[in-house]
């Protein structure tokens, strides 16, 4: 497995970090709420057999420029540029949570851009009979338990590493939530439902059985809406960010789907 490489690409004149590790056919990963303040064991699993390319969406750790994005079209086009500049056009794509909504948009609007698709508890829909939890109206002490079945996994993700700037680190962590809010406030509903039928890529839908943000029943709505072949797999003992709770199981399911 090759070393982790970090590069920067520009989207609308703002820097976005692109991490690359591993060898073999490329795959892309768009992270969920909180983004990626650090590299993950989950990504290492994937990098054992694949070249893993991880672009940071505007406003998430390693990237800025969310402040330029006012509309959903602005966001979709920014993600498209990021996918192109990261060399991910036409390859397998994984998107989780907020990143999942954008991965679905890519597959729907630019079908040539996505070979096979994995959605891990993606944002984008809202069902008022089963409302999603508001991730932006939480007391601090409840956030970890909302994100992961094992809150310690979330705390480890966002903990300041040794030597981190004590002023900038918390601002960067907060910015990831602002970027998510900017694109998905207030309900997480981007009317993605209207575009799911455009998705032709074979799609695996993964959902943590203990997702406290988006009800696991939303998986069926995605499966019903997507035009390509779909399969739903439930990840046991996993919360909203299933790749933090169960990195091995999630990576295994993804690699099996991509083949």
């Amino acid at each position: 497995m090759s070393e982790l490489k970090a590069a920067t690409v520009e989207v609308n004149g703002f820097p976005c970090r692109v991490w690359t590790k591993g060898s073999g056919p490329k795959l892309g990963f768009l992270a969920g709420l909180g983004g990626l303040p650090r590299w993950l064991p989950f990504l290492d699993k994937l990098a054992e057999t694949r070249t893993v390319i991880v672009p940071s969406l505007p406003g998430y750790p390693g990237a800025t420029g969310h402040t330029e994005l006012d509309t959903h079209l602005d966001w979709v086009l920014a993600v498209r540029q990021l996918i192109d500049k990261a060399g991910l056009a036409g390859v397998d794509l994984i998107g989780a949570s907020v990143g999942g909504a954008f991965a679905a948009e890519m597959a729907a609007i630019f079908p040539g851009h996505v070979r096979k698709l994995v959605l891990i508890a993606p944002f984008g829909l809202f069902d008022d009979k089963e409302p999603a939890t508001d991730p932006w109206a939480q007391r601090k002490e409840n956030v970890a338990g909302l994100m992961c079945a094992d809150g310690a996994k979330w705390n480890a993700l966002v903990a300041a590493p040794e030597g981190a700037n004590s002023v900038e680190w918390p601002i960067e962590m907060g910015r990831a939530f602002e970027a998510a809010a900017r694109a998905f406030w207030p309900l997480g509903n981007t009317r993605l439902e209207k575009r799911l039928g455009l998705i032709a890529a074979p799609t695996l839908i993964l959902w943590g059985d203990r997702d406290a943000v988006l009800p696991p029943s939303y998986a069926k709505k995605f499966a019903a809406g997507i035009n390509g072949s779909t399969r739903i797999e439930t990840v046991a003992e996993a919360g909203h960010l299933a790749y933090l709770d169960q990195p091995d199981a999630v990576a295994r399911a993804i690699l099996a789907h991509f083949g």
Binding site: D70, W136, P170, G174, F177, E178, A181, W185
Partner: protein
């Protein structure tokens, strides 16, 4: 100095066990607690109180905007202000204010404020708050990451709508209108009604007020002691920007309870004060910090510097952490000024001079205070405190006060005789 009478219009009958049984007075406060038949009386009492304050000679009566809020029953302060425009004659009407980003199109604010200014003969003070997180982001679903940009753009649009003589097209980032041409237009058109900005302690807001020559108002519920660092931060920033220390650049909110003696004041005002600081400020912390509401510059200042201490005390999060709820702490903390007329005079003079604030907005009704007590407090203040503090800042000109029509030019409003109307 100017003494202004401010009403929040709190719901006065929240139950004793409200804090135990309900997570928040704001945003998701339960509808079962609201009895519209009781609210009928509350609104009418509150409007009586505002009218009484005007009769008693306060320089202005003030109303403000809140949504889904058990201590603020004015989603539209403009409705109250328009009624006051008819029922008062010389008092300034301070609408503190309309949260610009909540109106679509924002020219609605330009129109309604122009109506109030016309009806009142030019007595409007136009307040433009960004609005609290609870009001804007949660109750009204506005995107916290876009709120300030929308606010500034709406401000530009409203101001241009007031001042531009020709119909114009507005092509903004968030607002697009082909034909902007408001009717009516404000009486105060030289160049526009005074604009006041209620804000927290953000340096950006201070700088913007200085640049635009607006009044900055710090509307804290925690009184002059907690407000001191914020107001010092404001004046330090004005000095840096080369602005004078004209106290009329600033407004400040202060709760007061005055009676014949300190003991009588404590007897009268303890229950309403404890009701307010206990029940009315019982806000769930999950509604305090929507991501993006506080700018990164303010966050950075908050973490880094001493100015920050000023900025920080003004953040909603730290406001929630202050939270004294018993009368001794409320009074010791300076949240409410209590005492005999002479004691209150001394404290008001101290507040005005130490904060250097020429526009003092007084909350003389708070919590579940009855109309009788409110009128008593108002009369005591007007008769025994006001004359002994009015002289302050006489050397400064208030350039930010309404300029109404001369008395002879104003419409005669017939006296209101409700009993006669009812008897007919």
């Amino acid at each position: 100095m100017k003494l202004m009478w401010f009403h929040l219009m709190p719901y006065t009958e929240l139950p004793d066990d409200f804090n135990q049984k309900h997570p928040s007075v704001w945003v998701d406060i339960h509808s079962s607690l609201f009895d519209p038949r009781r609210a009928h009386h509350m609104y009418n009492d509150f409007m009586d109180e505002l009218e009484y304050a005007a009769e008693m000679g306060f320089d202005a009566v003030c109303v403000n905007e809140h949504h889904s809020n058990g201590y603020g029953l004015m989603p539209s302060p403009n409705l109250i202000a328009s009624s006051l425009a008819r029922r008062t004659t010389d008092t300034a009407l301070c609408v503190m204010g309309n949260s610009l980003a909540l109106y679509n199109p924002p020219t609605r604010v330009a129109e309604e404020f122009a109506m109030i200014d016309c009806i009142s003969g030019g007595r409007l003070i136009a307040g433009f708050p960004v609005g609290s997180p609870m009001d804007t982001c949660y109750a009204y679903g506005q995107n916290p990451s876009l709120l300030r940009e929308r606010y500034y753009e709406a401000h530009d649009l409203v101001k241009k709508a007031w001042m531009e003589k020709e119909t114009f097209a507005f092509s903004g980032r968030f607002n697009q209108q082909r034909y902007v041409n408001i009717w009516p237009r404000p009486i105060q058109n030289d160049p526009h009604p005074p604009i006041w900005i209620p804000g927290g302690g953000s340096i950006e807001t201070w700088r913007w007020c200085a640049e635009m020559d607006y009044v900055y108002c710090y509307l804290s519920y925690y009184g002059y002691k907690a407000g001191l660092t914020t107001m010092q931060g404001f004046w330090n920033e004005m000095a840096k920007l080369g602005k004078d220390r004209n106290p009329y650049r600033a407004g400040f909110l202060q709760f007061v309870g005055v009676a014949e003696s300190r003991q009588q004041a404590l007897d009268l005002y303890t229950e309403p004060a404890e009701y307010f600081y206990g029940r009315c400020l019982h806000v769930d912390a999950r509604f305090a910090t929507p991501p993006g509401y506080t700018t990164e510059a303010t966050q950075r200042a908050g973490i880094e510097s001493m100015v920050a201490k000023a900025a920080n005390t003004a953040s909603y999060q730290s406001k929630l952490s202050l939270k004294a709820t018993n009368m001794k702490d409320i009074v010791d903390g300076g949240y409410v000024i209590i005492g005999s007329p002479d004691e209150v005079v001394e404290q008001i003079r101290h507040v005005a001079t130490s904060l250097n604030v020429g526009h003092l907005m007084l909350l003389l009704q708070y919590g579940n205070m009855s109309k009788d007590t409110t009128k008593y407090n108002t009369r005591m203040f007007a008769e025994q405190v006001m004359p002994k503090v009015k002289d302050l800042f006489g050397e400064w000109e208030d350039k930010w006060w309404p300029k109404p029509l001369a008395k002879g030019q104003r419409a005669a409003v017939p006296a209101f005789r409700p009993q006669l109307a009812a008897a007919e």
